[in-house]
């Protein structure tokens, strides 16, 4: 089977499992919504919330990323599913791409809800040109997060203490995404007097990040899960 067909099969399988188990809709979504409300309690000021809304949305996304990555590999590790895939000679690049795609789709769904929450709860402004920037930023940032998440998820899959190890490994790596996506989102919301056009250089950083880790993942995922 070609890499793209394997990727599609793995992604469809993962998404179907998520759709049926309803963990994302019933647990991860409410969790990230709650985080947004908690931020509002902690910061307790409409003006501050408006200014930092972009950062809060991305922080909530990254917290949820940990949960989603752990879910994504928990289903592979239980019953030795990942071992079976490997023994069956499935191309690891296909597995990497497939799991990244399914993570990407789940994260996008989550972010749509988070941004809607931000618009409602934090009262941010979003104009037409801001929306174009926001969509581009979300797509490129999420691609980067999905690649990195899959890469480090595969690395820690099956290891002792992976629940605690994953955030330790992932947080420093996703720092560039947090910085860039926050700045681009701020520009899209025109908070802090930033204009929309100032956000585009940050989207370029996000795209580079996604490309670097997409390529890095394709090259190294095989040796990470082959044991």
């Amino acid at each position: 089977m070609s890499v793209s067909r394997i990727a599609r099969a793995v992604a469809v399988k993962d998404l179907r499992i998520e759709l049926r188990s309803r963990i994302v809709t019933n647990q991860v979504l409410p969790f990230s919504g709650l985080v947004m409300v908690m931020f509002a309690f902690a910061l307790d000021s409409d003006d501050v919330l408006q200014d930092v809304a972009g950062g809060l949305v991305w922080l909530a996304t990254i917290f949820s990323l940990f949960i989603l990555v752990q879910r994504s590999f928990a289903i592979e590790v239980s019953d030795g599913a990942l071992d079976s895939l490997r023994v069956a000679g499935v191309d690891p690049q296909g597995i990497f791409l497939g799991k990244s795609i399914s993570l990407f789709v789940q994260l996008i769904a989550l972010e749509v809800v988070l941004f809607l929450t931000a618009v409602v709860l934090y009262r941010v402004n979003l104009g037409g040109s801001g929306l174009v920037l926001l969509v581009t930023c979300v797509v490129s940032a999420t691609a980067g997060l999905a690649f990195v998440g899959t890469l480090y998820g595969g690395l820690t899959a099956g290891a002792r203490g992976r629940e605690t190890l994953l955030p330790l490994l992932l947080l420093p790596v996703v720092a560039p995404v947090l910085i860039s996506a926050t700045r681009a989102t701020e520009a899209a919301f025109t908070s802090n007097g930033v204009t929309v056009s100032e956000g585009w250089p940050w989207v370029a950083v996000l795209a580079v990040f996604a490309a670097v880790f997409g390529l890095g993942g394709l090259l190294s995922f095989g040796s990470l899960i082959e044991e």
Binding site: P176, I179, F213, G216, S220, E227
Partner: protein, 249 residues
């Protein structure tokens, strides 16, 4: 009741490590005496400048250590034989690097408190250094995941190479972040310091001393790791020999 025993080992020192050790002791002895007594106070910073004699060499050594880790990991991964020596050097070097980076961060923030009036500023270089520290803590955690030495080497070499990818990205985005968000800090960390001859000499001696200390620590540590791996590998044989003896007695 072990019957098969590992050969008795007296230590992990060799002629070469003894030489490094003595060299490091002499150099660091000079840094201690020269840094505290012989070098003059700085016009602006006063006695606080003496922290530099430790801070700069430890920072340099930590960066050197992480470069060694990256190169050794690449050698392990790309080498045909996957020689475990590379993996042990990578691991030992990262351990020493993390320790030295911690010293750098501590001495730097103490200096900052005296000179800038604050322990920490969100300067790009400081921020990148902090990320480097956390990244290699993660690397060490991956090494501690368990499994066979080969598994450990494979996982950790990939993580080390990913760190090499990640660090320029972190640095670049942090630089961009600060440059867009805040005017340059009141005092840049490398503010113009006109350096007296003896100060420069002591500083360079410090860099030399800490580099030799690094070599000394890494060569000992990697040999200890080799012994540890050998002991683990022989544990099964030892256990089997014990059971056999139990059965026959």
């Amino acid at each position: 009741m072990t019957t098969t025993e590992l050969p008795a080992i007296k230590g992990v020192g060799t002629q070469a490590t003894r030489l490094y050790g003595v060299l490091a002791l002499i150099a660091l002895g000079w840094v201690l005496v020269g840094g505290l007594f012989f070098t003059p106070e700085d016009v602006v910073q006063g006695d606080a400048v003496r922290i530099m004699y430790v801070h700069v060499p430890t920072a340099w050594t930590a960066y050197l250590a992480f470069i060694v880790t990256g190169v050794a990991s690449a050698c392990w991964l790309l080498g045909k034989k996957h020689s475990m020596g590379f993996d042990r050097v990578a691991g030992a070097s990262a351990e020493v690097g993390v320790a030295f980076m911690a010293l750098t961060l501590i001495s730097g923030s103490l200096w900052g408190r005296i000179t800038w009036g604050t322990f920490w500023v969100w300067d790009p270089r400081l921020t990148t250094t902090a990320f480097l520290f956390v990244t290699y803590l993660g690397y060490l955690a991956v090494r501690g995941l368990g499994g066979s030495p080969h598994q450990r080497a494979r996982r950790s070499s990939v993580v080390a190479l990913l760190a090499v990818l990640e660090i320029p990205l972190v640095h670049f985005s942090v630089v961009l972040w600060r440059s867009l968000h805040q005017e340059a800090s009141v005092l840049s960390p490398d503010g113009d310091i006109k350096m007296d001859g003896i100060m420069l000499f002591t500083l360079l001696f410090g860099v030399f001393g800490f580099s030799v200390l690094f070599a000394w620590l890494v060569s000992h540590r990697q040999r200890i790791m080799a012994m540890h791996d050998a002991q683990r590998a022989s544990a099964l044989e030892v256990a089997m020999a014990d059971r056999l003896q139990e059965a026959s007695s």
